[in-house]
Amino acid sequence: MSLLREIRFTLNGVERRLSVPITMTALAMLRDVLNMTGTKYGCGEGECGACTILVDGQTVNSCIMFAVDCDGREVKTIEGVAADEQWRPLREALVEHGGVQCGFCTPGMVVQASHVLSKNPHADHHAIKRGLEGNLCRCTGYKKIIDAVAAVAGEQEVVP
């Protein structure tokens, strides 16, 4: 049996407190312990971005993060981003532009895109492409996803 450690953190704004094995990944904690299955397991090696979450406002690959390292921090998953009205236009743009096909990459894509737009609300095509380079999609060919994010960035530009 692996050594357990009690940790406390906020998950999508709610205080959580639980015991996790020291070597467990943050992704396994979210999916298998907390039943938050929005965050996906793609490669398990930091290569595909399906497991992207926000920790203290920075996106990370939860599949290579130690769950114990969530202790004392602010964790936000796709469930939190999806519930945030601020990102409704992003979700709608992805649907409108056909940026979702099988949908497996979508949670990670949305979390990363929200982060890219938070850092750079007027991101152009190039910046969006660079920002999403850690997220693989096997279906769409990326263009539709990038167009969707660009449409949101373009819209935000109109608002002073």
């Binding site: 050594l3 070597t23 920075q58 130690f66 004392g72 990363q112 660079r130 850690g134 997220n135």
Partner: protein, 288 residues
């Protein structure tokens, strides 16, 4: 499966050094090397896992006595975005820009990149050209002992360094480059993002009236550790940075490296690519 008996979360460097003194400690920073290595069964963890995230004094970038002090916990994203780095050490922010993906850059630290000691580590090659030193802290006999070591003497092989098991890497110290200093970095991967360097090259030096002085060259992924290209440096030193010199230096670079065949590339290909990248970086440095 896990043999870890204790998890530690020190608040200070002193506490961390005390824990390290106890022996058999694995240091955890961003975990982007440790977690995949653990899952692949490629790393044997010590009895103690010590997460240094809360350790005061390991974060931040500041100018200190004519050098830029980059704390061990500085993330690759910090290197990319921090004003001091962009202004004084642009070759380092450029290397950060070519590093993995946004998510990995947010997690991975400079201290982790250095201590992991991959011959392909992307911050290591520019740091070698910048004549960086590492700061190592231990507590051998109840007192904190701090030593500084040139980065070029730090690496001894893949994943092996001069860091003693009781030492914590606290910072990397980079001398403020002299006026007229220019540097460049190039990395070859199969795609721009998320690729380990097949080879990489950094070059630096003071360019005045078209002549290069204090030339520094470093190569990644062509040997068991990232290394300085002393032959290429000698070929460049004090010479006018013209087309003929650039071609000659690129040939010297190709001939002085001794890469191996592995799953990413053959030795022959690596040598040819060292030639191309050295030429490219020197051309950029000459034109800057």
């Amino acid at each position: 499966m896990s043999a870890i008996e204790r998890y530690e979360l020190p608040d200070t460097v002193e506490q961390a050094a005390e824990i390290l003194r106890g022996g058999d400690v694995t240091v955890l920073a961003g975990g982007t090397d440790l977690m995949p290595q653990m899952q692949a069964g490629r790393v044997a963890f010590g009895k103690v896992l010590m997460n240094v995230r809360r350790c005061a004094g390991l974060a931040g970038i500041a100018v200190e006595a004519g050098r830029i002090r980059i704390g061990a916990l500085t993330t690759i994203t910090d290197l990319l975005e921090h004003d001091l780095i962009r202004r004084h050490l642009p070759v380092l922010s450029d290397a950060a820009d070519k590093f993995a993906s946004g998510q990995i850059r947010n997690m991975g630290t400079v201290g982790g990149n250095i201590c992991n000691a991959s011959p392909a580590g992307d911050t290591l090659v520019p740091l070698l050209v910048l004549d960086a030193e590492v700061e190592l802290v231990s507590k051998p006999d109840g007192h904190l002992a701090i030593r500084q070591l040139p980065l070029r003497d730090f690496f001894s092989g893949p994943g092996r360094t001069a860091r003693r098991p009781d030492e914590l890497l606290t910072a990397v110290l980079v001398p403020m480059p002299p006026p007229g200093f220019r540097a460049g970095f190039a990395k070859l991967g199969i795609r721009p993002a998320l690729d380990i360097s097949i080879v990489s090259v950094a070059v630096g030096g003071v360019v005045a009236d078209g002549t290069i002085a204090g030339a520094r060259v470093a190569f990644g992924a062509v040997g068991p550790r990232p290394l300085r290209g002393t032959g290429t440096e000698a070929a460049l030193e004090g010479q006018p940075l013209a087309q003929a010199l650039i071609e000659a230096a690129a040939c010297t670079a190709r001939d002085e490296v001794t890469p191996i065949d592995d799953l990413r590339a053959t030795a022959w290909y690596r040598r040819e690519m060292i030639h191309s990248l050295t030429k490219k970086v020197l051309t950029d440095v000459a034109a800057a």
